[in-house]
């Protein structure tokens, strides 16, 4: 289905925000200013955006350790996120969560998650809530090719089928879990989607570096799930452009692999080529978006750097609502 100019521009912008957010963090992290483990989403933007462009705040998503892209695509505030990653008390989570634990319940973003595989059952719960409400809302869980081996992911798929929960299992196969290849760690002779299918749900597959493929596939998937046909799963083939976490020397990559995927599998480049080729958008307007986004990220970094730091008293706040 043809997207409007506005929708195209918004999708591009969303992907670009994620890309620049991550590319900037990659640089900033080397300065030592940012604490903790950070896992960057660069390269996978088309998945987060292609999925979340179909959702509103009442639809829920739950993310992973590599969560920035999902958060941004679902509408989390760029400044609030940057401040969180900087550990400021003005951050989305007051500096208590950091990169791996960003959440914004009001946006339907139920949290990045440091525990691989933990998100899937939580999404089933959110989907069961949507089922009770009966408004055709869904819950979506993002999982990696590594997370798809965790028992919780399997249990969640079965529970979703049994309860006919409106839940979508989005598998982002970027071929690596930390330093291990998907061909080793996922035993199946076929693919991740086939394994999901064996649990009794309908599955789809698409190129995760092609925004249009993701978006179009998700249209079908969501039509199926919102209509009350139970859960579904999608496997997107995608690429991560950086290491598993910042600091990873990536010696497990093939020769020239990083250059090749940046060259041929870059969702932003592919998007631009496609929309300009089809005459839907021009390079100039995309360049304008690029410039604007760069400015936004620059401003976010400056704001994060200047933001208020938390204090020792903050440690004790917010454990319980009432204790």
């Amino acid at each position: 289905m043809q997207l409007s100019r506005e929708a195209l521009l918004r999708a591009y912008r969303q992907m670009k925000v994620i890309r620049e957010f991550e590319e900037r963090l990659h640089v900033e992290i080397m300065t030592g200013e940012i604490a903790g483990f950070t896992h960057l989403y660069s390269g996978q933007e088309a998945v987060a955006v292609g999925v979340c462009e179909h959702l509103d705040n009442a639809d829920k998503i739950i993310s992973t350790h590599r969560g920035h892209g999902h958060c941004l695509a679902k509408g989390c505030d760029v400044n609030g996120m940057m401040k969180e990653i900087w550990g400021s008390r003005e951050g989305l989570c007051k500096g208590k969560g950091g990169s791996m634990h960003i959440a914004d319940i009001d946006q339907g973003m139920l949290g990045a998650n440091g525990i691989v595989g933990a998100g899937a059952p939580i999404a089933v719960g959110a989907a069961l809530s949507a089922k009770i409400d009966g408004q055709g809302k869904v819950a979506i869980t993002f999982s990696g090719d590594g997370a798809c081996n965790q028992g919780t992911t399997f249990e969640a798929m079965n529970l979703a089928v049994v309860t006919q929960a409106p839940c979508v299992f989005v598998f982002e196969n970027n071929h690596y879990s930390e330093h291990t290849g998907v061909d080793y760690a996922v035993g199946t002779a076929q693919d991740i989607a086939s394994r999901a299918e064996a649990f009794g749900m309908k599955v789809w597959r698409a190129d995760g570096t092609d925004f249009f493929a993701v978006h179009e596939t998700m249209r079908e998937v969501l039509a199926h799930v919102r209509a009350g046909n139970g859960p579904a799963a999608v496997e997107f083939d995608t690429e991560r452009f950086f290491g598993h976490f910042e600091g990873d020397p990536q010696r497990y990559r093939g020769e020239g692999e990083l250059d090749r995927i940046r060259e041929t599998r870059d969702c932003l480049k592919k998007f631009r080529a496609s929309v300009t080729g089809a005459g839907l958008l021009g390079d100039a307007e995309l360049d304008a978006v690029d410039a604007e986004v760069l400015g936004q990220i620059e401003a976010a970094v400056e704001a994060a750097r200047a933001a208020e730091r938390p204090t020792a008293e903050d440690v004790l706040a917010d454990v319980y609502i009432a204790y």
Binding site: C93, K94, G111, G125, Y320
Partner: protein
């Protein structure tokens, strides 16, 4: 007041809260029972009879029977709670926190804090715990000591039907995650329960079930009753025991404990968990740290030994704290020096 069994206090409270609040949802294994069988839904409910009839009343969206997948059960409760519902998840046995701990400890217990205080996670996780049924090492354990040590969780251990009623209402209405521990050996015990639909018991308020001046006995759950037996026996000899029923181990009512020890100067903590890093040690340390000057004798813990729970009747009885062991401990602190 009505007389009812501990298990019926659980069931009736859940039913009432479901009636009052459409966001309350129940899930767990066999909470309906009979799903997918010739007998059909509710042919038989769960093994503790704590959800009987709920499916018929509230339907399949709010009474969710699950496969044997405890991580998914607790995870689903987490998601329901984040999405605005008030799930009550049932673990058939407390021992099954082993297969679902991450969702309890690293998810439900941490959301509010990790997410900067803006997230409510009003999930209740009920579980049957405790020994006395010869169910051996994997079906008899106490887990409150493990869960009390986990910030973000509230932990409730009612010892009477009335406390079940008052504390479970509070748990379901609480905006924080609550672990609700039901002792298997108490399910069949009857007691008077207030009829007032507004009756609740706040967390962090212990109950003084016996009052005396000579020694403080702290306990909860099944063993509370054992302590009462000892207190009554000693009362006949003119020895007065304060028996403190903790009701909730997190939050802990430090004040009631410390106030009592300030008077008695002597403490016995009776707990069903293993001794190391357990609740008994926790409370002995509390008192030693904060009521040191009042203490006339070393704080005494009565717990099982540091072993798994054995099967045979003779072994399980020897394993568990008994009235005799409690009495001996009390006499020991009374005799000190």
């Amino acid at each position: 007041m009505s007389k009812m069994m501990y298990r019926d206090a659980v069931l009736s409270t859940i039913a009432e809260e479901m009636e009052n609040d459409p966001s309350v949802v129940v899930l767990g294994e066999d909470v309906v029972g009979g799903m997918g069988t010739p007998g059909g839904p509710e042919a038989i409910g769960g093994i503790w009879s704590t959800s009987t009839g709920l499916f018929g009343k509230f339907g399949k969206d709010r009474v969710i029977d699950t496969p044997i997948s405890e991580s998914a059960i607790i995870g689903a409760a987490a998601g329901l709670a984040l999405a605005g519902k008030r799930p009550i998840a049932e673990l058939m046995f407390a021992d099954f926190i082993g297969v679902s701990l991450d969702q309890i400890w690293n998810q439900i217990g941490k959301f509010r804090y990790m997410f900067g205080g803006k997230t409510r996670c009003p999930a209740v996780i009920r579980m049957a715990y405790g020994a006395g049924y010869n169910a051996a090492a994997q079906h008899s354990q106490s887990v409150h000591q493990i869960l009390t040590g986990m910030p973000g969780l509230k932990v409730v251990m009612p010892s009477t039907p009335a406390d079940v009623k008052g504390l479970l209402r509070t748990a379901i209405r609480d905006d924080d995650p609550v672990i609700f521990l039901e002792h298997k050996a108490l399910y069949g015990v009857s007691g008077e329960v207030p009829d007032d639909p507004g009756f609740t018991i706040p967390f962090g308020h212990a109950r003084l079930s016996r009052a005396g001046q000579d020694v403080t006995i702290v306990s909860s759950g099944l063993l509370l009753g054992f302590c009462e037996v000892v207190a009554d026996k000693l009362a006949a000899e003119g020895i007065g025991c304060d028996v403190v029923d903790l009701r909730t181990t997190s939050p802990l009512d430090e004040e009631t404990i410390l106030d009592s020890v300030e008077v008695t100067g002597r403490l016995v903590v009776v707990d069903e968990a293993p001794p190391r890093c357990g609740l008994a040690a926790d409370i002995c340390a509390l008192v030693a740290g904060k009521a040191f000057a009042s203490l006339k004798a070393p704080p005494q813990a009565v717990t099982p030994p540091h072993t798994p729970i054995p099967f045979a009747r003779e072994l399980e009885s020897a394993y568990l704290p008994s009235v005799d062991k409690i009495e001996a401990a009390v006499r020991k602190v009374l005799a000190w020096r």
